[in-house]
Amino acid sequence: MGKRIGMEVAIAVAEAVGLCDIDMAAVYPITPQSHIAEHLSDLVANGEIDAEFVTVESEHSAMSAVIGASGAGARSFTATSSQGLMLMHELLPIASAMRLPICMAIANRAVSGPLNILNDHTDIMPQRDSGWISLFVENGQEAIDLSIQAFKIAEHKDVMLPVCVNIDGFQLTHMVEPFEMPSKEEVEKFLPPFVPHATLHPAKPVTMGAFAMSDYFTEIMKAKNEALKSSKKVILEVWDEWARLFGRAYKPVETYQAEDADVLMLTMGSMGETAQMAIDQLRAKGIKAGLVKLRLWRPFPLAEIKAVLKNVKKLIVTDRAISFGGPGGPVFSEIKSAMYAEARRPLIYNYIYGLGGRDVAVGEFVGMFDKVLADTKNEAADTYEFWGVRE
């Protein structure tokens, strides 16, 4: 079994990636991801892992380098945050179109402006449609586990897609907390060697990233979409295997006290655990409150979401980003769209919160439930609100 240790989560993510026999990493440091970059480069420089650490001059270069390395057949890793992710944006759909199983840790941070550096989800949301598998974690253990699982999911022959693991910046990356770190032997047993679908090699030349006009572009987009949708099967298999080997189970949609709930809240990332404490307080007062935590953002777990939400009367969707001038938070839009054609669907409320690192305490989660339950005429349903904003 793995060893129970206390460590800063960002360092632990680098340690976990170091267990995965990577061939190369190209990481440009940016707050709050920097400790991942620094520790991974330490591991390489100290000879603890046999990999190439490419020091690049920007995140655009980092993503370009891992695309090239992955194309050459190397198990490749990168990590970033915020503006760095925005700079990678242009390349993300290319990595997925070329079906390169790159793994990336994202220490989620608010996008400028104004310059902020603290945690929210405004960096990942604009990458939603890039064709990457996108996972969210709520604590250090999950950050470690999913960072390792990411390689197995990405490199599965039926997937061959890049994977990003979203780890809330500071809130998780800078937290010293306990977790079990799998051993090198356990990871070796779990993670088979990378067998690329094609490689750039002079002895057997291929072309990657070729040109396609209107006669093929639609078919290529359809094939990419089907690949991403069908990756869920493999993700579930990998999580089953993880549960057998390590005793920790993962699901696309996690629930807490949701079975008999009249009102549910949906969270993504590190807010989930704090919200869970609010559920306990509400339950103690006799209110049937429950929690839904969305782990799998892409491919979107439509069936699982529908199954969890079918009997609930009211749903509070929390968002840590906003679609400016749009219908509300991005998660809210997705959930509403998922439930639109259902015969039974909840009234859906949307709170935009935790922007730019603003803390949300247990009492505020309770306050959100109180406010929604007090809306007996359902006047605020289908609308969104900036929680706690000063008027």
Binding site: R99, M160, A198, M208, A210, D215, Y216, E219, I220
Partner: protein, 92 residues
């Protein structure tokens, strides 16, 4: 050639057949063709160097000609040829 369905596409649309672009005969784009006057040609090879398509080849006798399967008729060889040995003529 029948177009493939989305299910028939190779993963990542990798082109595994090296040099397959040569199957695409860009010569069909041409409206003018280069004609060499070997009486003026000094065999300097500047036409070979400048051809952006790489379709100018040297023959056994040392003179040059264009592979008309690929020559797009751009006229760069004619423009660069300082003894003025290459003339561009209209395609019929």
């Amino acid at each position: 050639m029948a177009l493939k369905s989305w299910k028939e596409l190779p993963i990542g649309c990798v082109v595994s057949d090296p040099g397959s672009a040569s199957e695409y005969h860009t010569g069909s784009w041409r409206s003018q063709r280069p004609i060499w006057d070997n009486a003026k040609c000094i065999k300097c090879g500047i036409c070979y160097v400048y051809c952006p398509e790489g379709c100018v080849q040297q023959t056994e006798d040392g003179f040059f000609k264009a592979d008309l399967d690929y020559c797009k008729g751009c006229g760069i060889c004619s423009h660069e040829c300082w003894p003025r040995a290459i003339k561009m003529v209209e395609e019929e």
